[in-house]
């Protein structure tokens, strides 16, 4: 039996590994710029979807269904992002006789609309953050201003179809409102093809805590120990951990109960996550549901020993859940994940696409690296620049942090900039070590920073000067000869020298 993995990068690699461990065949899909990508090399077969832009490749439902037909795949795993939360895709799979590894199109549709999901949560007695109905991308200014008044400032603008911080804006005072609403709508339109947004009251320094769950087709729903994802940059998670720091045992169980009630209300199957905001008084509010596998699932796997992606596939194949909720809610040790992006943290986290020329990966006990590129691979400009997820486990949070520091120090990627220097700095901040963070923590400390995350030593400056001089010398020497086996960096260097 074959599974078509309708994604790319690290999550496609992750899903391929789960398929293999279950003895399932793997069909990859790719856009033109991903022809030789890692997920393609690891698959049994690979089918082209179209040109590099995602609207012409990974977002093309027809091309993916066609690849599934041609390859004889019987399951489709959407990963996260792209079409993962698109009910039309889940529906198209069903109509093509393919098993969609995820919830029903109906459940996606009902929970995917952020405002409808809030109604469902309220319906089963789970509190939500006060908010407005959705407004259209071209709603009149007066309507937007009036809606904002019902929520109060500061507020958040969010895309109805949102996720990953896209189409999201913070509004501190009325003067920022209209411009922010327009930008959020434009970003939402370009990211999700749906420009509708809504507004929500912004809690003061809340924590982001979420409950992973998985449901089978017999109505069983198993919740997992919570994840804390409070460390966010511009509403995008950058560090996640499990369990949350200092969350009372009763709150965990109350959240898990609330999550299961919400999932049950829509007949939820397969993996999903209910996100909550936790206020400073310990009360929690339903935020939204992600009707798919999440980026940060490895921390849950690390503290429970459960392979979530294997269970996604097993449930999709009709298997009954045999996980013991008592165990999935009792973490063993502590896990932390860092999302490593191809971005330059010293230039405002600007994306840094390009050729990865080498990767040195940390390893050892309690260290897991999920990566979508290796040396010689490209980070294309067309997609999310997430290149790897580093997950560490320790018997205690302190032990996990110690391992995380060691692993981050060891991790090295050349050819592109990465957020590794930023993480090396972050994991040494007192607030992080104390776990005293909220969703506003990171943007707050970054706003005041001017200095680079790493200060080079005198020795490093001298070494760099020597390396640059030797490289220039070699590149010049090389322009006088012809070679077909010259390494890539030298070819690039020679080209620059000739400018």
């Amino acid at each position: 039996m074959k599974v078509l993995v309708a994604n790319r990068g690290e999550i496609a690699v992750r899903i391929i590994r789960a398929c293999r461990a279950l003895g399932l065949g793997v069909v990859a899909v790719y856009s033109d710029c991903d022809r030789g990508a890692l997920h393609v090399r690891l698959a049994d077969e690979a089918h082209r979807l179209g040109p590099a832009p995602s609207t012409e490749s990974y977002l093309r439902i027809d091309a993916i269904i066609d690849a599934a037909r041609r390859s004889g795949a019987s399951l489709v795993h959407p990963g996260y992002g792209f079409l993962a939360e698109n009910p039309a895709f889940a529906d198209a799979c069903r109509q093509a006789g393919l098993t969609f590894v995820g919830p029903s199109a109906d459940a996606i549709a009902r929970m995917g609309g952020k405002t409808a999901a809030r109604e469902i949560a309220l319906g089963v007695g789970v509190p939500v953050v006060p908010g407005t109905p959705p407004f259209e991308a071209d709603a009149p200014e007066a309507e937007i201003v009036a809606a904002a008044e019902t929520v109060g400032y500061p507020l958040l603008i969010k895309a109805v179809a949102g996720g990953g911080g896209k189409g999201m804006r913070t509004v501190e005072w009325p003067g920022q409102l209209v411009d922010a609403a327009r930008r959020a709508a434009s970003e939402a339109q370009s990211a999700f093809g749906d420009g509708r947004c809504y507004m929500e009251r912004r809690l003061v320094e809340p924590r982001h805590v979420e409950i992973q769950l998985i449901g089978d087709h017999g109505g069983r729903i198993v919740p997992f120990v919570e994840r804390e994802c409070s460390i966010q940059r511009r509403h995008q998670k950058v560090v996640e951990e499990s369990p949350a720091v200092a969350l009372p045992h009763e709150t965990r169980h109350a959240m898990a109960d609330a999550a299961v009630r919400i999932a049950r209300a829509v007949g939820y199957t397969n993996a999903g996550t209910i996100e909550f905001l936790v206020d400073r008084d310990g009360s929690f509010y339903f935020l939204e549901m992600n009707t798919r596998l999440q980026v940060e699932h490895p921390v849950t796997e690390a503290v429970t020993g459960v392979d979530l992606v294997q269970w996604q596939l097993r449930v999709a194949l009709g298997e009954q859940l045999t996980l013991d909720p008592a165990r999935t809610l009792e973490p063993r040790g502590h896990a932390i994940e860092c999302r490593v992006y191809a971005e330059d943290p010293d230039r405002g986290f600007l994306p840094s696409p390009g050729l990865v020329t080498s990767v040195t990966v940390p390893s050892g006990p309690g260290v897991r690296d999920d990566r979508g590129v290796t040396d010689g691979d490209d980070v294309p400009v067309y997609y999310d620049p997430l290149i790897a997820k580093l997950t560490v486990w320790g018997e205690t949070r302190g032990a996990a942090i110690a391992r995380l520091r060691q692993a981050l120090d060891e991790y090295r990627v050349t050819g592109v900039h990465t957020t590794l220097p930023f993480f090396r700095w972050l994991v040494r901040q007192p607030a992080f070590v104390a776990g005293a963070v909220s969703t506003t923590y990171l943007d707050g400390v970054l706003a005041g920073r001017r200095e680079p995350f790493v200060q080079p030593t005198e020795q490093q400056l001298r070494d760099a000067a020597i390396a640059a001089a030797v490289a220039a010398w070699r590149a010049r020497a090389d322009t006088r000869t012809t070679s077909s086996g010259t390494s890539r960096w030298l070819l690039a260097a020679r080209k620059e020298q000739l400018r």
Binding site: L350, A467, E496
Partner: protein, 176 residues
């Protein structure tokens, strides 16, 4: 060969002499002289080993290893990646020659920091902008990135249109 290398705000003069034999062809004598302290020169002899990502240099006196990824970037820049730190370098003042003059005359050139698409132009030719004001939004890798003016000035030229795809280093606006 002698070159001047500027890195991390420091300038060095580096002289290279090949001292390799047939057995070990890639041995180089290096004299490193900080331009701000010419007496603090440092002479070393190093093995040069090419790697897929750059160079491994091994000091023949104490076997210390420099493992450097070196990438040529546009406009005469080099990116030197040592374990734990990324550094931007220029050689023989290329950066100064190419953009230094403009800085002296008070001109700012806003260039694309990465390949992407011009999403929105926030100013027009003739507009007065404040330091830190966003002037153009570039979309790359599914994120919007607003580029800001470094200093106050007047927009003299807009070299791109909305919707246009741009390469890294491409001039977007000129502000005086």
């Amino acid at each position: 060969m002698t070159v001047d290398v500027e890195v991390g705000g420091r300038a060095f003069r580096v002289s290279l002499t090949r001292v390799g034999t047939a057995d070990a062809p890639d041995v180089v004598r290096i004299v490193l002289q900080p331009l701000d302290d010419p007496d603090a020169a440092d002479t070393r002899t190093m093995h040069v080993e090419p790697r897929a990502h750059g160079l491994t240099l091994i000091d023949t006196s104490d076997d210390r290893v420099i493992d450097a990824a070196v990438l040529a970037r546009p406009h005469g820049h080099w990116l030197v990646q040592l374990p734990g730190v990324d550094l931007s370098a220029t050689i023989d003042g290329r950066r100064r020659r190419e953009s230094g003059g403009t800085a002296a005359s008070g001109e700012q050139r806003i260039t694309a920091p990465m390949p992407g698409r011009v999403l929105r132009l926030l100013v027009a030719v003739g507009d007065t902008v404040a330091a830190g004001q966003a002037v153009v939004v570039i979309e790359a890798m599914k994120m919007e990135n607003a580029l800001t003016a470094e200093a106050a000035g007047v927009v003299r030229e807009i070299a791109v249109e909305e919707g246009m795809s741009v390469e890294a280093g491409r001039l977007l606006l000129r502000i005086e």
